[in-house]
Amino acid sequence: MGAKDEQPSPSRRGLLRAGLAGAAVTAAGGAALAQAKQEPAKQEPAKPDPAITDIQDWNRYLGSGVEAAPYGKPSKFEKDVIRRNVGWLTAGTESSINFTPIHEIDGIITPSGVCFERHHGGVAEVDPAKHRLMINGLVDKPLVFTMDDLKRFPGRVNRPYFLECAANGGMEWKGAQLNGVQFTHGMIHNVWYTGIPLKTLLNEAGVKPNGKWVLVEGADSAAMTRSIPIEKALDDCMIAWGMNGEALRAEQGYPLRIVVPGWEGNMWVKWLRRIEIGDQPWAQREETSKYTDLLADGRARRHTFVMDAKSVVTNPSPQKPLKYKGPNVLTGLAWSGRGAIKRVDVSIDGGKNWQTARIDGPAMPLCLTRFYVDFDWNGQELMVQSRAMDSTGYVQPTKEALRKVRGLNSIYHNNGIQTWLVRANGETENVEIS
């Protein structure tokens, strides 16, 4: 993990290009820069690189044929790009969580095989031929659909959305606990969904005028249930059978799940088998005992559906330390359940000074958004932060600002600003700062 300075820092580069320089003008930073300038370039005779001069096996022998992998996997050299869990978090693995390796992926689409999992009764292996979707309650006509029925509906849609667990970052409410962005922010994924608007199905059954709430229920052994207001159901909820162009993965609800854009992941019921219309919420376990947010005065918020604007720097981060001085790419993700990401600011001095990052790729509503800051690093200690702003004007708060309103025991909805301490040797740590 030790920092290497394989390439001498060219003196023509500023300490930190692209405006971060303003943030880094400190006595220490200036001294470090001066030192780098004075360092004489080491004059070792250049040796030829055996990676070039030797003939490699893959350059000589035949590789596998096209029949070797009817359904491909990542290269074996990418074996560390995997979901991980934290054993002590839960009593068993069936009602538990694992984490997306967001420090290892780029862009905005999460590969299906590493999308984090959250189950309450394990992964149900549902036979699609036996899967049914029922709509009942306050409707003109209670209905049953097969998967084939659903795929015949007109008005099919394809949409990318983030799904963030309400508990993402929950372990960090009281302080810095887990040393990796995979663990502090990895209860999230972002995929393209294929399906039909929930509105289409509700129209088919005919919602009665007093139908104000929608209960969604899973077919798994937890029979997960949540109450959704009818306004949201009629707005942008989807009944999805596809993700990233193929069928849902079993662990993501195959063959059918509900997509509730911008709202906490718990509501995105998997293995969806029933939709009920009622005139009141149902106060199910997952919206009373769980997914309610305890405040300092002993009362609790309920129905905290929306995931607020949030961001995190994924590189550098504890699992991705800085390895080289000179040019480096800082990158991260931003998202908001209230709209599109309008801007992301980055600080390297613990929030004293900020510069606006570059967003590359689309910044779609309710979807992960990728940002970058290209910078030069001279071995100076950094306190890296990012701060998201969304199209409603909401600005991601500090953890301290959140605690002022909510106390320490909310568990859910921690969207506070994350700080990474990058040390002189490049090692990076999850910290809280003054």
Binding site: R84, N179, T288, D297, R387
Partner: protein, 228 residues
Amino acid sequence: MSRFRNVVLAFGLAAALASPALPQAKKMQPPAEPAKTGLGRPALPEEIKAWDIDVRPDGLGAPVGKGDVKKGEELFLAQCAACHGEFGEAVGRWPVLVGGKGSLKADNPEKTIGSYWPDASTAFDYIRRAMPFGNARSLSDDDVYALTAFLLNMNEVVKDDFVLSNENIGKVKMPNAGAFYDDDRTTAEKHFWAEPCMKNCKTGEVKVTGRARVIDVTPDGKSGPKVE
């Protein structure tokens, strides 16, 4: 079908009016609500009964049946205590079901059925749909009434001779019922909607006040799932 005819008319009209009338044509677009397709089939009463088992706080959906505290205790020891403990105090990291009264403002609040849950119906509904863990839907409705009665009794919500039934499940008063309120972030956290500081935002030195490494609970690569 009249809606469908409107769609056709709107398109026809737009074409007739040609390009200068485009803004007007836009206004006349049909409502987004699609016509019915006739897909699916009616759900039969037996099918709805088999799947629609949810119970609301007011008791709507509660199946006919009843169970008392004593029978609930027997069932709890046989079916539940291995994980939740004989007194609902929990084994290992399994959920605590009893106690925690008055702890909600404490550093480590204990949120149980008695200290936190706002409605008795939720306990009945959840046990019935998802418990015992690994053998869901194996209890009769009367068993679930009895288990719920026992848990309410252990939490000092009802007396020892209490009988829970579909008649009274909507009337049980839970200690923490009044302590929940709807999401108020757009008012209570309105100050997060404000243009942020960009330069010289903090005075003095920024110091590290907490470190994950000190707690050191992050799993290493070896404890993650194995892949081939």
